[in-house]
Symmetry: C2
Subunit: 112 residues, 2 copies
Amino acid sequence: MEKLLDALKALSDETRLRILNLLYEKELCVCDIMEALQISQAKASRHLIYLKNAELVKDRKHAQWVYYSMALDERMKFMDSLVYDNLRNLELYQNDLQNLKDWLKRKNIKCD
Amino acid sequence: MEKLLDALKALSDETRLRILNLLYEKELCVCDIMEALQISQAKASRHLIYLKNAELVKDRKHAQWVYYSMALDERMKFMDSLVYDNLRNLELYQNDLQNLKDWLKRKNIKCD
DNA sequence: CTCATATATTCGCTTAAGCGATTATATGAG
DNA sequence: CTCATATAATCGCTTAAGCGAATATATGAG
């Protein structure tokens, strides 16, 4: 079966792990990801599409934004352990979350 | 952190998943793997070394044989779900287990 | 020592991944 | 319509993965 293998391939890249770590918090648009991870737009978009093809995330279009969020089926329940027992213990991923938080705050202030 | 990522990269290849599925049953030597999966010796050896470098398995030499077995630390506990909730539901991996069983039986008869 | 068996390593090749830079497309604002 | 913003897609390049075939190494048997 291909589906599981596709999901695991999607998990074998650090940028994608960093993205999943953020999406585990909440639904985000591409520009949130680029800002939080400080990566290029093309890179963020590419990896998000990769994750979508692997059926780990789903997307939702609204105006000119595309919002991505986790889309885990029953089989992928091991993802919880991966994120909470592993990623969240690592400095890089903690920093990413903090950067996301800071960025969302700035973004909201801008919109006021 | 590199270690988790190395482990995940190790999980992103079907042959290595098939090997892990077998090692989840019991400690095996390289030739058991080649026979059960019907793959070449070089291929079995290469992937086992890959898994060892990723610290998912450990090896033990005895005479001319090298025995490999699972070596999961606390962080890798999601592997249980991966194997039992996913791999073991798939025909390919079930067949591999049956082939292993058959091979071990033949092997023992030969040794009598 | 010599041979057979088990395993690891190397080589050359092919294919896939990831990347930056650029371009294309879609949407909303004015 | 025109412009700015958000996202996706393409191109060319570089590097990594995986493979089969062949060779090397280690161990036990006799």
